[in-house]
Symmetry: C2
């Protein structure tokens, strides 16, 4: 019964994860209070999605200005930290303790969800391993799937002859990397260990 | 550290009520999965906000196609239901029990929040009272402020000589109209009573 243009706004919010009819309505009413300038900036923000893609090299998000990690020549080229998702790289960045390369898998191997090694960015990671790379730090989440992925990566990376470490102490098991506090992340980063299997 | 265009998306979601950095990020990642067509429809939805305004007659939302309630000539002109917010009118509509006019105050009188009668759509309501109007149903929420508003409306409407009723039994005190289940609303509508004071 709302005017069509207001309904369109509610429908948009209803597509978001965990947002039902009531919340979508509340969001729409809040957005209704926006100034014309704010609306213009939101239109730009939504339009901008079309310019966002995955970096072909590291798998992070990039827009038309390129990948923030790959274009930064001040970053250490000799170490690659492998994470499951873009959020995880951001979480590590926030610690301020790491200034090397990243590789975002955009997924983790999962038996239950049917995600296999070829479905995530493992091949592109192996392509990046050359004599410049001295260490690969596996920083997948401390979940079942994350651990499985770490073990698999350790195996294929060692075959390439590269030194492999894994974020270790500090990360409470079963938690998601994305939600770890910075101190815990720093501890896990400093205490990284070789995988023993 | 995200690309600028992705940050813009996160910033947009952070303006929504109850949405923090983590949730905004989650919403932005979900929206990133949109097709080009979906993005276009979202851009249209956001742009459409500029065409949404309050109906000068009843206070409901209208877009460039006019007010859905006021333009509907099949609706009973002899009865006006007064509600606090647009959501409340929608909640009543969903019961399917009412097919009269609405008047949306867009607020309720509140001593604590400093909202006075002149701050909400009471004057425009009084202007609508003429010989055609046989009944005004006060349907403000069963909260302190809603009750205060109902008592005030009852007084000024009776001075105009119109028959005034109030949604009554069924609405649990302290709850918001917007969240009442439909059966409770129908009960409250059927058992409406004259205000005794």
């Amino acid at each position: 019964m709302y005017p069509k243009k207001f309904e369109a706004l509610i429908r948009m919010f209803e597509t978001l994860p965990g947002v039902g009819a009531k919340t979508a309505q509340r969001y729409a009413f809040k957005m209704l209070e926006s100034t014309d300038e704010e609306i213009d900036s939101y239109v730009e923000a939504i339009r901008g999605i079309k310019d966002i893609a995955k970096c072909g090299r590291c798998g992070f998000l990039k827009d038309d200005e390129g990948c923030v990690f790959c274009k930064d020549k001040s970053r250490d080229q000799s170490v690659i930290m492998v994470v499951g998702y873009p959020q995880d790289a951001i979480a590590v960045e926030k610690t301020g303790s790491y200034h090397g390369q990243y590789h975002i898998l955009n997924g983790v191997i999962s038996a239950t969800k049917g995600v296999y090694p070829e479905d995530i960015g493992i091949e592109s990671l192996l392509k990046r391993i050359n004599e410049t790379v001295k260490e690969v730090i596996i920083a997948t989440s401390a979940t079942m799937d994350g651990e499985m992925t770490a073990l698999y990566l350790d195996k294929v990376l060692k075959e390439k002859g590269v030194y492999v470490t894994r974020l270790a102490h500090g990360l409470p098991m079963g938690s998601s990397l994305d939600y770890a506090d910075e101190l815990t992340l720093i501890k896990a980063f400093n205490n990284r260990t070789k995988i023993e299997q």
